[in-house]
C-alpha cells in the first residue's frame, strides 16, 4: 500500500498544486519521484512529529492540502494533542497518513504496532477515518480524500498486501464496498483484513454458509444505510479488523446500533486484537494466528454462531 500511496500522491500533485507532503524522516527513496517533480512541496520534517503535524495545520490554514506521513503510532497516538487541536479543532484539510498500521510491523515490537489508532482518531470531532483494503482502494481513497475539506486519517498497511479489487472501485467516503455477495451472514472487514474476510467467506461456503463481505473502509463516518440493511437482513454480522476490539470498527458498529431506535436482529460478532501488549516476538502472520485472526478460526466461530442462531 505504501508504494501505491507514494506513486498516487506524486501523480495527483501534478494536477493539484495544493498537495504538500511532509515526511517524518521515513520512506527513504520512497518519495524520490515526488521530490523530483515537486521539490517545493516536500519536506522531511525530521524526528519531530508534533511539529510536523502543527506545521501541516499551518500550511492548511493558508490554502494547502498537506499530508503527513510516518509510521502509524508516531504520526497518530504520539501526537494526539496536535491532531486534536491544530488539525481537528481548526477543522483543516490535513491528511494524517499512517504506514505499517495494525500488526503490519509486528516483528518491530509493540512500539510500532498500532491497534488503538482508529479508536483514538475517530473519537475526535471533524475527523474522517479511512482504512483501504488494498492498493486499488488506496488509489481511489486518495482521489476521494482530496474532495474532503476537513481532517482525514488514512490508515495504510505496508506493502505486498493481497489484492481485493481487480480494478479500481468507485469509492465514496462513508459508503462500504461490497466485495462479495452472500445471503446468510455478513462480514464487515476493515482495511488489510478484507482479504482475510474473503478467505473466511470461502471457507464458510464449504460449510454451507453463504457470506456477504463488505470493505468498510470508512469507520467514520459509518455507512448507516448499509448497516441498517445488514443488521436486519442477516443472522450474523461479524466485524474483522487488525485493531483492538476496544474502539475499532466493531465498537463503532455496536455504538451505531445502540443509538438506533429501530431494532436490529443480527447477532454482532467482533474479531480483533485483545487488550494486551504481547510479551513475545513474532511476525504479522504469527500474531494474527496468536490472536485468532485467521480465516480458519473466524469461519469456525461464525459457523457455530450461525447454527446456534438458526436453531434458536
Amino acid at each position: 500500500m505504501r508504494n501505491a500511496f507514494a506513486a498516487t500522491i506524486t501523480e495527483l500533485a501534478s494536477t493539484d498544486d495544493r498537495i504538500v507532503l511532509l515526511s517524518g524522516d521515513i520512506g527513504n527513496r520512497l518519495f524520490d519521484a515526488f521530490k523530483e517533480h515537486h521539490p517545493s512541496r516536500f519536506y522531511n520534517c525530521g524526528v519531530a512529529e508534533g511539529n510536523m503535524t502543527g506545521m501541516a495545520a499551518g500550511l492548511a490554514m493558508c490554502g494547502l492540502k498537506p499530508f503527513t506521513y510516518t509510521i502509524t503510532p508516531f504520526g497518530t497516538t504520539r501526537v494526539m494533542e496536535q491532531i486534536r487541536i491544530d488539525v481537528c479543532y481548526h477543522n483543516l484539510p490535513v491528511t494524517i497518513v499512517g504506514t505499517g498500521s495494525g500488526l503490519s510491523y509486528a516483528s518491530l515490537g509493540p512500539t510500532h504496532h498500532s491497534v488503538e489508532d482508529v479508536a483514538f482518531l475517530r473519537a475526535i470531532p471533524n475527523m474522517t477515518v479511512v482504512c483501504p483494503a488494498d492498493v486499488e482502494e488506496v488509489r481511489a481513497a486518495l482521489v476521494a480524500i482530496l474532495k474532503i475539506d476537513g481532517p482525514v486519517y488514512l490508515r495504510l498497511g505496508k506493502k505486498g498486501e493481497p489484492i481485493v479489487h481487480k480494478e479500481r472501485p468507485a469509492m465514496v467516503i462513508g459508503r462500504g464496498l461490497t466485495v462479495r455477495e452472500g445471503s446468510d451472514v455478513c462480514i464487515l472487514g476493515l482495511g488489510n483484513m478484507v482479504a482475510t474476510s474473503l478467505e473466511t467467506a470461502a471457507l464458510l461456503e464449504g460449510l454451507g454458509v453463504s457470506a456477504k463481505v463488505v470493505s468498510m473502509h470508512t469507520p467514520k463516518p459509518l455507512d448507516g444505510e448499509l448497516l441498517c440493511e445488514v443488521l436486519s437482513r442477516f443472522a450474523i454480522v461479524a466485524v474483522v479488523e487488525e485493531h483492538s476490539r476496544i474502539g475499532g470498527l466493531g465498537s463503532a458498529v455496536a455504538e451505531w446500533a445502540a443509538a438506533r431506535e429501530a431494532r436490529t436482529t443480527a447477532r454482532l460478532m467482533s474479531f480483533g486484537t485483545p487488550d494486551l501488549f504481547l510479551p513475545e516476538t513474532g511476525g504479522q502472520k504469527y500474531l494474527r494466528k496468536r490472536f485468532g485472526l485467521t480465516p480458519e478460526v473466524i469461519s469456525q466461530e461464525i459457523h457455530r454462531a450461525y447454527r446456534a442462531a438458526k436453531q434458536a
Partner: protein
C-alpha cells in the same frame, strides 16, 4: 499603519485598563500574564504588522499568533482597538453562547489567526504558514508571541530546529519573559535559562530587550527578515502584572481577579480614572 510613540503608550495604558476590567467583570484569571505582554502586542499591531482590519483574511497579510492563548483578553482588546471589530463586542467575552472564550478560537472574530490555549502550538503553526508563504511566493511574516513557561514544551524546540534548518527567516518569536509560570519561577521549575543562549544555539538570530520599552521592541521587530538568513527570537524581559504596582511581579495574579476597589485603584494608577 504606524502611530506616534505617545499614541502607542496611551494605547498600552488603555488596553491594560480594559484587560483588568474584563478580568473583574467576568472573574477570569491570567491577568498578570495578560498585562506583561501588552507592550509587545501594541508594538506589533501599531508599529509592524502589515494587516488591514478592512481585509482581515488577505492571503498576503502578516500573521500574528498568540501562542500564549491565556492572554486572550489582550489580543481581543488590541484587535478591537485596532479596528478589526466593534469595541462593544468585548462585552460578550466569556458569556454563555458568546464567541470570545477565555482562550482564543480561530476566526471567533476578525484577526484571530489560531485557536490557542494549549501551549507549544503557535510556533509549529507559524512555520506551516511560513512554508505556505514560500510555496505561494508571498513575503508575509509570521510573528508568534509565546510565554517563558511555554518554552518548556517539547514542540517549541522541535519547531526551533526545523525553522533553523529551513532558514525560515520570515518567522519571528517574541518571548514574554516575565519569569513566572503558573505556580513558580520559570527559571526554577525547569532550567529555562539562559534563554537567549538556547535560542542562539538552536540556530536563531536573537535580540534581548526590555519588553516594556516600545522603541526597543519596534527596532527589533521592524526588520523581519533581519538579513541573517535565520528566524528571529526576541527575548523580551517583562514584569508579570506590569502597569499596576500591587500586581507587578506578584504571581497571585496568575489566578486572582480584581475586586471593585482593586479595579478602581488599578485604573487610577493607569491614569484612566
Amino acid at each position: 499603519m504606524t502611530v506616534s510613540l505617545e499614541k502607542m503608550r496611551t494605547l498600552a495604558r488603555e488596553i491594560r485598563g480594559q484587560v483588568i476590567q474584563m478580568s473583574h467583570d467576568k472573574k477570569t484569571p491570567h491577568l498578570g500574564s495578560s498585562l506583561s505582554c501588552v507592550d509587545i502586542v501594541v508594538a506589533a499591531y501599531w508599529g509592524i504588522l502589515r494587516v488591514d482590519p478592512q481585509n482581515p483574511w488577505d492571503p498576503a497579510r502578516d500573521r500574528f499568533i498568540l501562542s500564549k492563548g491565556h492572554a486572550a483578553t489582550t489580543l481581543y482588546t488590541a484587535l478591537a482597538y485596532r479596528g478589526f471589530f466593534e469595541r462593544e463586542l468585548l462585552d460578550t467575552y466569556n458569556t454563555d453562547g458568546g464567541h470570545f472564550a477565555e482562550h482564543p478560537c480561530l476566526r471567533c472574530a476578525a484577526g484571530v489567526e489560531a485557536s490557542t490555549g494549549s501551549l507549544g502550538h503557535g510556533l509549529p503553526l507559524a512555520l506551516g504558514m511560513a512554508l505556505a508563504g514560500r510555496i505561494h511566493g508571498l513575503d508575509y511574516r509570521s510573528v508568534v508571541l509565546m510565554s517563558d513557561g511555554e518554552c518548556e514544551e517539547g514542540t517549541v524546540w522541535e519547531a526551533a530546529l526545523f525553522a533553523a534548518a529551513q532558514k525560515l527567516e520570515t518567522v519571528a518569536v517574541a518571548i514574554d519573559y516575565n519569569k513566572w509560570q503558573a505556580t513558580g519561577r520559570s527559571d526554577e521549575v525547569m532550567a529555562l535559562g539562559p534563554l537567549v543562549d538556547k535560542w542562539r544555539a538552536f540556530g536563531w538570530s536573537t535580540r534581548e530587550l526590555d519588553g516594556h520599552d516600545i522603541p526597543a521592541l519596534l527596532k527589533a521587530l521592524e526588520k523581519i527578515p533581519d538579513g541573517s538568513g535565520k528566524p528571529l527570537a526576541i527575548i523580551a524581559h517583562t514584569v508579570k502584572g506590569r502597569g499596576v504596582s500591587f500586581m507587578e511581579d506578584d504571581n497571585n495574579w496568575h489566578y486572582r481577579t480584581p475586586n471593585a476597589d482593586e479595579l478602581l485603584a488599578a485604573r487610577k494608577e493607569l491614569g484612566l480614572a
